[in-house]
Subunit: 409 residues, 2 copies
């Protein structure tokens, strides 16, 4: 558990947001850019709030960034396959390079090989998170054994997995409130990674833009559902115990990541009326309250029955099936919506969720929940997992170090 | 010319931004949502600035929205092909329906058939702009003749056009600072359009996020260039004369739109050094100043020569070739970046520009500029037009009317 974890749920967790950090100490390029901003686009007199573009989240620390901070508006997820012949030495070189790029970009500083340095000056809460797939850990060739959970998830009946959206050796999660920042950072990383690896898949996700809604509003997905109410809260000991691995292994201070690409059949969902939708989820659509409550954060009462004796929150509802009596069966979700161009001209939508969860142990925390949902969850009628991947998320590193050093050094 | 056009370049043009409009007068759904927001995510005490999510741009007016207002962070462009048998009567019905949807969505009000009404409550400067392709105007079957310019552009040597990115009967430009809003509005419109038309292509673009940079900062493209310095300024008579059609036809108060999908070969661009890049454009990369000046807005001096007698801004540079001595050869650009997943696993980027220009007359304003760039523009070495489309943009409408009524009624 990180020593400086806040206990206040309004605390932005251990990673403080540094305002204005992007402009301070960036060197010549930033100085010119700041000068330019002054010349070309003066802020209104009296304007006090710093631009969100200048807000930074530290890259260095006990844990990797991009997990226990408020989700950004945009995230791009890229899985890479290692090239033939890449062993431990090359993995070290790759992770040193990528960690250095990520640390600079997160501060709003251009990486050394940046050919468009001005595009690096707007971090907008940029974080870059690295995950290791099973084959990368094998290639490291150490005796620091991989975890039992570092393998493809067990097969679920609902799965219709496509290889084009599944697995991978190295995961990059590039997350920022600014889509141009995500595009530039992604390209910088891939330019430095391409000697070592090729792109296996790319998934782009979004949530509400910065400034669209009050801070802390729970996300709605493209079914219109409020999604994430029961998530552990940022900055709490609860989140720390759900997410971080607390042992003596190379993953101490790290976590695991499950990615599921979940197609949402919005055309079929359209044919379900509002009461039907609320029964499928177990929550009201308007404010996300459980069907037995009035407010989003109310605890659902699964024993409550209707006047004719049926459970008010049906047995087949999503929230009933997702809930366990076993207190360790909890995960921390940080999902993003996707809405891609349909490949079939008869379709008007290609929509879904890049489901992301972090948990200390996939086998004991994620899998039991997913098994219950696989057995019975009315939402399965409208959702189909089409991609699946599992990554070990190494701990963070200090300045001068690199992500993965506990495995590779 | 609109009667209430401001002459101050800092004026946000004739379309005032209405703060808080999304919450006022939205009816039951919004009331519940506002209540929800109050319960679930109270704003910090003393917070004064309205959320950008509540800012609206009026749909009704002399001109369509989404043209003479500051560009939003996101825009999705969809071209539709009319189904067989769609004539004037069906076009009327379609445009009535889509105009009503667009007017409601722009106010943060859910359209009548909205099955996820809560997703409509965050307009974030949403605008929806409609364009008519040549075939739609033919299908209208009136004697209000189409313009000479309402046809595919003349062929240019640089073109490598793909049908999958070109032409179309009806264009939807869905523009907002919030990507979830764009996704929901797009789906609402396509659900109502699908009886009449099928999707031909979808192009998604982005610029800097709201709040990333000071208002009025000129966009950088993914080559890192500042792009749009010489654009007519919002809220000026200059912009009005460049953009709006001023005659007695069905397009009075309307304009024309050129869309060019321009692939940018960023891998090849990487091999060009910084001085070479600046000569190709004719501007400094750091602050966008012409090579003969020090600040972005400085006028380029095309007669200035280096000590050895060569023009300081080369003849082959982009800004030299784009500039005409004919004062009417000007256009108003409102382009967006794109960065899609590469289709070829050996590539790491699929990047470019959804070039958009509005002008009263394509033949006399756009084509001469494009011809000069086609003949000689060093940037052509790194850029390739892969899509091209032309649309007539009908004037705006008042409440109770619909876009296209001057042609279809």
């Amino acid at each position: 558990m990180a020593s400086n974890a806040g206990k206040n749920p309004n605390d932005l967790s251990r990673r403080q947001l540094f305002l204005g950090g992007a402009v301070a100490g960036v060197g010549a390029v930033a100085a010119v850019a700041a000068d330019h901003a002054l010349n070309a686009a003066p802020m209104a007199p009296g304007a006090a709030a710093p631009l969100n573009g200048t807000v930074t989240i530290p890259f260095h620390g006990a844990h990797q960034s991009g997990i226990d901070s408020p989700p950004t508006a945009h995230a791009t997820f890229i899985a890479l396959d290692l090239r033939e012949g890449i062993g431990r030495e090359e993995l070290q070189a790759m992770m040193r390079l990528l960690s250095d790029d990520a640390a600079r970009l997160a501060q709003g500083v251009n990486p050394l090989a940046d050919t468009e340095p001005e595009l690096s000056l707007v971090p907008a809460r940029l974080t870059i998170t690295f995950g290791f797939g099973p084959r990368l850990v094998d290639r490291a060739g150490t005796d620091r054994a991989p975890r039992s959970w570092l393998r493809p998830l067990p097969a679920f009946k609902v799965d219709r997995l496509e290889q084009a959206w599944s697995d991978g050796d190295l995961l990059l999660q590039v997350s920022s409130d600014d889509p141009l920042t995500v595009a530039h950072a992604t390209r910088m990383l891939l330019k430095d990674a391409r000697r070592f690896a090729t792109v296996r898949w790319t998934q782009k996700g979004f949530r509400r833009a910065h400034g669209s809604e009050a801070t802390g509003t729970t996300m709605r997905n493209l079914f219109g559902q409020i999604d994430g109410t029961t998530n552990p809260k940022l900055g709490t000991a609860d989140l720390e115990s759900v997410v971080w691995i607390d042992d003596k292994s190379w993953l101490a201070g790290g976590t695991s990541m499950v990615m599921r690409r979940i197609d949402m059949n919005v055309d079929k969902w359209d044919r379900l009326d509002r009461p039907g939708r609320e029964l499928a989820v177990g929550r009201r659509l308007d404010n996300g309250a459980p069907l037995t409550g009035t407010r989003e954060q109310d605890e659902p009462d699964f024993n409550h029955t209707t006047t004719v004796g049926f459970p008010t929150i049906p047995e087949f509802s999503h929230i009933r099936r997702a809930r366990s009596d076993a207190t360790h069966e909890r995960i921390f979700r940080r999902s993003y919506n996707y809405d891609d161009a349909p490949s079939d001209p008869s379709m008007i939508s290609n929509t879904g969720l890049v489901f992301i969860s972090f948990q200390a142990d996939i086998d004991t925390q994620f899998v039991p929940i997913q098994r219950r949902l696989d057995d019975l969850d009315l939402l399965n009628e409208w959702t189909t997992p089409v991609g699946s991947a599992v990554f070990a998320i190494p701990p963070g590193c200090e300045k001068g170090g690199y992500i993965g050093e506990t495995l590779l050094a």
